[in-house]
Subunit: 384 residues, 4 copies
Amino acid sequence: MRVAQPQTARCGVSRRSAVSVKAQAVASPAPATAQLKTDVAKIAVLGASGYTGAEVVRLCALHPNIKVTVLTGDKQAGKAFSDVFPHLMTASNVPKLVKIDDVNWSDVDAAFCCLPHATTQAVIKNLPSSLKVVDLSADFRLKDPKSYAEWYGHEHAALDLQKEAVYGLTEIYRDQVKKARLLANPGCYPTCSQLPLYPLVKAGLVLPDDIIIDAKSGVSGAGRAAKESNLYCEIAEGINSYAVGSHRHMPEIEQGLSEAAGAPVRISFTPHLMNLSRGMQCTMYVKTAPGVTADDLRSHLEKAYEGEHFVKVLPKGVIPHTRHVRGSNFALMNVFPDRLPGRAVVICCIDNLVKGASGQGLQNLNLMMGWPETTALGQLAMFP
Amino acid sequence: MRVAQPQTARCGVSRRSAVSVKAQAVASPAPATAQLKTDVAKIAVLGASGYTGAEVVRLCALHPNIKVTVLTGDKQAGKAFSDVFPHLMTASNVPKLVKIDDVNWSDVDAAFCCLPHATTQAVIKNLPSSLKVVDLSADFRLKDPKSYAEWYGHEHAALDLQKEAVYGLTEIYRDQVKKARLLANPGCYPTCSQLPLYPLVKAGLVLPDDIIIDAKSGVSGAGRAAKESNLYCEIAEGINSYAVGSHRHMPEIEQGLSEAAGAPVRISFTPHLMNLSRGMQCTMYVKTAPGVTADDLRSHLEKAYEGEHFVKVLPKGVIPHTRHVRGSNFALMNVFPDRLPGRAVVICCIDNLVKGASGQGLQNLNLMMGWPETTALGQLAMFP
Amino acid sequence: MRVAQPQTARCGVSRRSAVSVKAQAVASPAPATAQLKTDVAKIAVLGASGYTGAEVVRLCALHPNIKVTVLTGDKQAGKAFSDVFPHLMTASNVPKLVKIDDVNWSDVDAAFCCLPHATTQAVIKNLPSSLKVVDLSADFRLKDPKSYAEWYGHEHAALDLQKEAVYGLTEIYRDQVKKARLLANPGCYPTCSQLPLYPLVKAGLVLPDDIIIDAKSGVSGAGRAAKESNLYCEIAEGINSYAVGSHRHMPEIEQGLSEAAGAPVRISFTPHLMNLSRGMQCTMYVKTAPGVTADDLRSHLEKAYEGEHFVKVLPKGVIPHTRHVRGSNFALMNVFPDRLPGRAVVICCIDNLVKGASGQGLQNLNLMMGWPETTALGQLAMFP
Amino acid sequence: MRVAQPQTARCGVSRRSAVSVKAQAVASPAPATAQLKTDVAKIAVLGASGYTGAEVVRLCALHPNIKVTVLTGDKQAGKAFSDVFPHLMTASNVPKLVKIDDVNWSDVDAAFCCLPHATTQAVIKNLPSSLKVVDLSADFRLKDPKSYAEWYGHEHAALDLQKEAVYGLTEIYRDQVKKARLLANPGCYPTCSQLPLYPLVKAGLVLPDDIIIDAKSGVSGAGRAAKESNLYCEIAEGINSYAVGSHRHMPEIEQGLSEAAGAPVRISFTPHLMNLSRGMQCTMYVKTAPGVTADDLRSHLEKAYEGEHFVKVLPKGVIPHTRHVRGSNFALMNVFPDRLPGRAVVICCIDNLVKGASGQGLQNLNLMMGWPETTALGQLAMFP
């Protein structure tokens, strides 16, 4: 975002998001202090037996400032992490899974919380308040307790924390993120849709009362729970809509766009389950303000994300593909003219497990800890 | 469609579309005359080396009134069909591929034309006018020569035939189809979108000036040509929009909806390429007429397709999946309330190669030949 | 098999396996008697909520002599079948699921038993002995009670039935199958491997003491149970061996090959899980008898399966693909020279749910009921 | 390999393959000299428009000592690399594609050659002899000119270079690799099969005259050429053997095993095409020397690869999966008892594009340049 200010100088490293990944990867350890013991933080991953937990571990493996010291998984406690996620058997120094009640918190500087919705608030409430927390659940995303109760079916159990939590759509709320102690990491759909829509609505270029989001997601977003509906045979070679008109990411998107619009916004949001492990696309059908063209929207996004490392507005006419972000923290977006006058088509693609979850979580932790924002996020997309 | 009248009595078989497939399958040979030699038609498949051609052969293999006597494929001429499509090696009595110029037309009663767009018109122009033709290309779908020239980049070369051609969206135009000699088989997207939209627009339940179609298709729609962009590695585990605002199925859909609305209609249409071999879904975002609800739309579709064998309006709240029509000629549809007031979400799923191409083609030929409409189309969807 | 004799004349229909599917499909209702009420059998599918049960229903939907009157599924009892398998919602007259204890057996002529291993024997023991039963579980495949106890970890609970059961590898044991009341339908791997190996071992062309089977199967073979290891994300874009040296199909294959060899045979058998819904290939590495070539093996298989409808020995040099049998009851096989002297490579492909389970089950029931063997099995493979 | 000796001290960095990736990633820039301009090598990728070329670029993006200055692609010359591989659009400072004839070789320190077989030798012959070259084609793998002529159908055009070339199966030939100027990077199948077989044959634990390799590979191994047989629809949901008894990787494997055995070795080798983008497994059926057990083989491999970073012998009984190495440079292997006495089953999995091609290529270049062997190869497998 254009409005982003320079990072605080906590580590003497100002944000240089326009700089290339590689340059940063090389540069990151450059300040001698970065090699000091005090700059290696001890990190816990709570709920490490799910896909977002595993993805946190995968990304952190290349992080020079992170040592993963705690992995929890109540049902899998006692197991080696490589028994649960053999693809990470080659990671070094990964601890065994333990029960969350058995964690020695004095040995932890920060935590990724990858627990299921609802149970998260109870857990975080009892953590030492000194701990920095990136919460990947939905528990602290909705600011309005009534809205939370309406969509999640029960009163929130940690209202104080809910007030404290910072919503971590990094490129939009970077300044708040830097100061956050408890960070509510955005949902995958809210990330993919708000990244383009927030600036457009905020600038008044898109009418806020007729936003239609046709969202498509890979299956990993549904987690690793053993459900019949997510079996290979049930998913392969087929697609379907789901939760039409009732998905819980709807109020989260509406919250952000309402803030951008300065008035309550309702959206049309229809998610689709794709036969993909990873990958998410939002195809957004918007009405433009009078006199505004698709090109104007595109230009505005270009300016809004100028210098951003992870958000790329593609050249005019180039269509984003989910496969071009697979495994990476990038968001690709573009705007196209619609055949219907006064309309435009906005497209954004992310990897739901990276920019839509663990990658953005690490991006946020980097900021919260004063590390360069792109640290350990330099992996390019894997294709084919 | 409600308005459908009883079939002509050509074969003494009135349409009984509400009757089960199996009942018909059993019943179909029942009339003694159906076993007569005169009721076995000799069929040619022109352009049999592509996927739609192969699908025609697959379906016809179970047809008691069809004998496939000619298969053309200019590049593959001389080859056994099983060399080109080994999965059909077990079909009986399938002829070799020949060049189209070498066909003895006196030995053919009807033809499926599965040739590429543009070349088709030149070929069909030179066929004996006695031949019944089901054309699966786009050449005869657009009635307006100007529109054809605009979207296809050249003047139409067979304007007389274009006038004669009947547009074969079977459930909508059944009466005309029965009398057709040259049938323009609808495109896959136009089938999937018009089946629900046509009756809704015609009844004035949906506003015709703000119809948004988010369409998703499997790769087989792109044919068997060896293109880099359709390689397994380019498609697997990824999705993308394509031809945003410029797909040639757009004017075809607009033509149908304009007729339904009684006034010119423009639509928003964005196709997406899915990592599926087969399967198509259109998710349609529509504005309802004042006072009309999503339930009203659903009820209207139920009535419109009451008794139709191949079009099923699902029970309220049940979401269509592409995998539930794979390999079959069925269209599944439903309507859902939208969170945005005055809007509804309409969903339709088909197999793009069956109801979206070869299956509907055979359904049309059945009508054109006076055979029971469901003959050889009784295969249920294959899952998993 | 060459040795197959004409069918018994129970229904006055001699086997004509060399006749084409279509010819048979047309011909099947031809004998006037076939239309009599007495020729429509009432069929129960026990355990209809799994993939093999669904596949039985899919295939039977095109069968002129079968009316499915009972579907059981203890956990899903009370549900419409279309709630459990929406792809079969278009099947006509399919009953609701009931508990097995609530079945009125007087209304059933024959049953497909698709229950889990071990529970099957208890269930079948209590069925009326007049009922013809095709059992798709492993419960009655092993003839030797000791072998059963060794591989399944408990004594067999229905030893009398075990003696009575006929092993239904149709092309090999057709004569016994015709007379069977209780049929043990072969496992998928045993079908795919024995079809080529049995005749070769029996003829002494392959040495029985060094047979190596590298087997590859789609995931549907593992059933519809909600297991983490079968989730889409766990299977997609990856393969692995499993149950190396310990798969329960091993003794079943050994039983058949021992019979063929006239002496105990042990095999090397390594199954692999493929990211396929359907499809199975066995690649078999065999030592030939002195002086015997790969071509000799191929020729022998050609003779052995001459006139067989469902078993095809491909032309010399042509490689079988699983995709060329998907959805069909065919087995494709071939033999290739090995670079190692004295060795040959034998390949066989089937659809594990059809020829490897429900299709062969129906093929067997057809014989047991005196119907033409290919009835309702005329569907060609679906590709792409 | 056990026999591996310490690296030469060219850069003062001894090999520390047992050290963790992360430790190395952090440590790699540690020697102050590593940051010197002289330690950044200018790298050309010849044939960068194919999958192995793209994979080289992806991996090099994280390499602190590499600057990619030249990308060639004769057909795509003039295009931005991101037009050809959009997933790498986020890589920094990637040059445009140029014709190979337009390269200024004075600006290149080393080259990855990803050109097609046969054309490679002509190209490399004309490169400056000062250039270090890692050749990913098959052109320099076979040492015997007769064998090359036999398998490739023509005389080799650069026999001098063929003599000079070092075969780069890194863990086996590390010492030679370090001194290489022209490196013949092994084929994917030869890597996957020789890694376990070479030490076992060399130690005399496996009989060399009856080695059977059932190999399974993803489609990316076939490259990005637009072939009908590699279209999504032709590959998805199906598998097949190919090139039975005639694959060109056969003599390459035989060459290595012959050297290990000290006598000519012939193998049985049957490759299978999987519906995977990436992933390779060799399932190897071997006869053990008298008295030698599967456990003995496993123990020997454990010792042989002790301390190796990229080769992992899994714990007893744990089965390697291709999905656990996807995107990474690791090889996972294990040995299992066979039911046939005197036999064992050896399994190895790699990512065919990484350890089977570009990753091993970079591993070799690291050694040739005197950089730590694991530099830029620290990425863990991506799952799901």
